[in-house]
Symmetry: C2
Subunit: 189 residues, 2 copies
């Protein structure tokens, strides 16, 4: 059965196109050409254009969810934050193509997927925020507005997805070390 691997091929090509041109500007004809099929043939493998976006967005949402579940709440806040930053950098550098759909294109989801996605994201941010708050309370982090720190951290790794390409001048380990160092120095008391 080729159907399943075809589905994957189409999804990967879609993620790439959504990143390069944006969801709305990507046509099913573009996508068909990218996978060397006629437009109508796509529908043997996928339900709709939006279903593709849904797939990509929730795959990543769950990736972040698993990463969050793997951190130990008993660890000191600075260890937890370090681990979350590593998670973000690793997802951004490993799966360069589809992170941007996750970052920018989720707003093109239809209901009820849109609300569901927003809710997953909200929960994730809430957990991230409470670790920052704990760190500030404990004196490990400097006194600052927690939400400001949260959004700064989250968006400071955003450039990786359109900048980082594997095997370029700078390797993942170095990006990870330097970036985490810069941000943690900014946070720590």
């Amino acid at each position: 059965m080729s159907s399943n691997s075809q589905h994957r091929r189409i999804k990967v090509a879609a993620a790439q196109l959504f990143r390069d041109k944006g969801y709305a500007a990507t046509s099913m004809r573009d996508l068909a050409e990218a996978v060397a099929l006629k437009p109508s043939s796509l529908y043997n493998h996928i339900a709709s254009k939006e279903a593709l976006l849904r797939d990509i967005c929730f795959e990543h949402a769950h990736h972040f969810e698993r990463g969050m579940a793997a951190i130990n709440p008993a660890d000191p806040p600075e260890v937890q934050i370090r681990q979350l930053l590593r998670l973000h950098i690793q997802i951004a550098t490993q799966d360069v193509t589809s992170v941007m759909a996750f970052n920018d294109e989720w707003r093109h989801l239809n209901e009820p997927a849109l609300s569901e996605f927003r809710s997953l994201r909200k929960t994730y941010e809430q957990r991230f925020l409470s670790i920052l708050e704990a760190g500030i309370r404990s004196g490990a982090f400097r006194d600052m507005t927690p939400s400001l720190a949260l959004y700064t951290l989250l968006s400071s790794v955003r450039w990786l997805y359109d900048w980082f390409r594997p095997g370029r001048q700078i390797e993942v380990e170095k990006v990870e070390a330097e970036l985490i160092d810069l941000l943690m120095k900014g946070l720590l008391a």
Copy 2:
């Protein structure tokens, strides 16, 4: 002559729609409705949908250009970087709507505007980068990959445009002070 103020009204409404729905997903009919005109009437004030995007993108590019021109190369690198961060935060918080076109939607520009925009951006980043390099050389900043520091700084203020709303719980001055503090602490030796 109402033409000029109408042009402004249309541009502001367009910037808002481009931010909320994205350029490609915004139709001229959406825009017409937002300014209470019939779609065809828009064309008495603007040349095309893309001309609106061009206007918005280059207005901001020149805003950043002027900000860069205003910094004094004789100042210590850390003073120059502080000033540039203030510029970014001020543009993001003052002109919330159209910064996102500048950030995300410029890729929908047609040639030759697309190349021209990329070139302006490249020049700006190059100047920013050389200040960081000077700071690392002088020992004011810690030793790090300059381009990594550049992109981290540039993208760490990106969240402001869709998060910050004037008169919300936290005021501009506080955002500015805390954000600059966090980032400079990350950079300084």
